[in-house]
Amino acid sequence: MIRVLIAKPGLDGHDRGAKVLARALRDAGMEVIYTGIRKTPEEIADMAIQEDVDVVGLSCLSGAHMTLFPKVVNLLKEKGAKEVGVMGGGIIPKADAEKLRACGIEEIFGPGSSLKEITESLKSIVRRKGENA
């Protein structure tokens, strides 16, 4: 069973999208853990390792994604969990999305993304990671 951590880094309290996605992934047969709002990158990385998840889904709508998302990726690497896939969503301008991909965020989803699209992409991240391991 795929294990996913849906996480809200930073101070942003908009978690409609995070919760909707968490429910959708659970209905798609995954084990989903939600961090709740206002988590530090450190807390998120620790939780991902503790819960042994395959993927971390980061959600941020406050514009702090460039500071917070890469930190989570780097912390996972530092803590020896580079096999964990990281994806993100929020109000993220295209130019930022490209930079984030270069930092190791596998996929970025903006407003209007369908749940199916996100679920499929998550599964393919897990497959890819499995093949590379």
């Binding site: 908009h14 978690d15 409609r16 919760k19 406050s62 109000i91």
Partner: protein
């Protein structure tokens, strides 16, 4: 009549293209007639504008005397940058200000707090001390303009700063007009900028309501908000019910200290306006009627004025699309029109680019012009509540009222809204409805033009606003400088007095005012309160 209607229905039976329901799941008939209103008692159900139950509007002449206040929510980066945007908006005919604070400010943190990293100046203007507040309102005539501040947990701190800069400019607190959101209950269920646990938080809310009723009488001490719960997913009916249930909780806490007729006029409301044009109009009418009954029957207010539900409206953020963003101008127009037809007292129209970034100056101007066109060109403001008497609108108003009461009764049975929040009932309802809505969009049952219908490959053709990354560095430097310049013994003694106040039951607003005047920062003031009150630890609900 009944027979004629029946035979018309028989004769006109055709296959329809779908089932018709409002987004609140209210079934809609093909046609509404006087039969749907039964023995509609005009005086009891509608009354006259400016009189109970205020269904038709809170003022007798509504927009014939004065249009709604055009108030665009704005704030980004530093106080000086935001001040420039305010002066621009006022020069373009905006009639009130609405301050968006950044998240560290909203959560009572200074810009140099570790958790503030990356967030300074992002979703709003950054304010650390009274010095920033003075820059924010530089050259803005506080005695003439009304200012709304979206601030909840630290509402007393920001209002204290506003009062203090007013005083410095020779303006008495009694002259100040505006609103602080100060609605903590919805923060626990939807918006998330809580600091303290519910009990001391409710005390702070009540302290501010009592203080304003006595010292700042033209100020709305609270804006009881459905907006964020609606945006998080609940329906129009639930928005009315949950908001008014929160309103009941605030009144219950203040009536222990003050007569209902002495503070009810300082309560204001804030609703969203979504896509379903007619349901939204009926929602505003129903909300006014329900609130009038609550204040009259439950709290036994004697003055009619206490029973008025005055509200601000913002068009819906979640209905904006990142795809084909220009289409959002049309969505906002319809939503704004519904708000005006629903009798709003003030209005924020969203900008077309808000699913992509904070609004650019051009996008904000179009949004403001949208209100101005409705207000000055459309003619809908020429008579009060022009849709009253429509069989459908009156029927739907009744329907929303009835269903809202059902929720309010259910919440009462749970022991009130704070208990319902503790049990996670409201949060779960919101999350459930949000998930259902997304599934309807994904399946195509609900249309979103440009997203699941009529989509197109496009190259984005709008220029977006970017908040400068160096705001955080500059703000930290300013803070360091302030801490060196100010008289630290005065800061210390005002903060310790505040701590002692937190342990007693005295009103905290005057103590917070002293802290602010001694140049204590928002992080220090909220930190002192945290020492006594502790911090809220949420249960994680999915």
């Amino acid at each position: 009549m009944i027979d004629a209607l029946k035979s018309w229905e028989e004769e006109t039976k055709t296959k329809e293209r779908k089932e018709f329901k409002t987004p609140s799941d209210i079934e809609i008939k093909k046609l509404y007639t006087p039969l749907d209103l039964g023995d509609f008692d005009y005086l009891e159900k509608s009354g006259f504008p400016g009189g109970r139950p205020f269904t038709r509007g809170v003022y007798p002449t509504m927009y014939r005397s004065r249009l709604w206040t055009m108030r665009q929510y704005a704030g980004f980066g530093s106080a000086a940058e935001t001040n420039e945007r305010y002066r621009y908006l006022l020069s373009q005919g905006q009639t009130g200000l609405s301050v968006a604070f950044d998240l560290p400010t909203q959560i009572g943190m200074d810009s140099d707090a570790e958790l503030a990293m990356g967030e300074v100046g992002k979703v709003g203007v950054t304010i650390d001390s009274i010095e920033d507040m003075a820059l924010l309102f530089d050259s803005i005539p506080l005695a003439q303009i009304s200012t709304s501040m979206t601030i909840n947990s630290p509402a007393a701190v920001l209002l204290a700063m506003y009062i203090a800069i007013g005083e410095k400019n020779g303006i008495e607190p009694s002259q100040l007009r505006g609103t602080v959101q100060n609605d903590i209950l919805k923060e626990y269920v939807a918006r998330g900028t809580y600091i303290f646990p519910p009990e001391p938080s409710m005390r702070l809310v009540a302290d501010l309501i009592v203080y304003c009723a006595e010292e700042v009488p033209k100020w709305n001490a609270i804006s009881i908000s459905g907006y964020h719960m609606r945006e998080a997913g609940c329906t129009a009916v639930q928005e009315v019910a949950f908001t008014l249930a929160n309103g009941i909780a605030y009144c219950e806490s203040v009536v222990k200290r003050m007569d209902i007729d002495d503070f009810a006029r300082n309560l204001s409301f804030f609703f969203a306006c979504h896509n379903n044009f007619l349901e939204e109009i009926a929602k505003f009418r129903a909300a006014r009627r329900v609130w009038a009954k609550i204040i009259r029957d439950r709290f036994h207010a004697k003055k009619d004025r206490s029973c008025m539900l005055r509200f601000h409206t913002q068009t819906s953020g979640v209905t904006l699309t990142a795809q084909q963003p220009e289409n959002n101008i049309v969505r906002v127009t319809l939503q704004a029109l519904a708000a005006a037809l629903g009798g709003t007292q003030s209005l924020h129209t969203n900008s077309m680019d808000e699913a992509l970034a904070l609004p650019s100056e051009k996008a904000v101007r179009i949004a403001l012009r949208t209100q101005q066109i409705i207000g000055y060109e459309s003619g809908i403001t020429d008579t009060v509540d022009p849709l009253a008497g429509s069989y459908y609108i009156e029927w739907l108003t009744d329907q929303i009222e009835e269903e809202a009461w059902e929720y309010i009764d259910k919440i009462d049975e749970m022991g009130g809204v704070t208990k319902a929040i503790e049990r996670g009932y409201i949060q779960d309802e919101i999350a459930k409805k949000a998930y259902e809505a997304q599934k309807r969009i994904d399946s195509g049952e609900d249309a979103v033009v440009g997203v699941n219908r009529f989509s197109a490959e496009e190259e984005l053709d709008v220029s977006l606003l970017r908040v400068r990354d160096d705001v955080e560095i500059e703000q930290k430097a300013k803070l360091k400088d302030l801490r060196e310049r100010r008289k630290s013994d005065m800061v210390e003694s005002s903060l310790r007095t505040l701590e002692r106040g937190c342990e007693s039951s005295e009103n905290l607003v005057p103590l917070i005012l002293d802290c602010v005047k001694s140049y204590a920062t928002i992080g220090e003031i909220c930190g002192a309160m945290k020492e006594i009150f502790g911090e809220y630890k949420p249960t994680i609900l999915m």
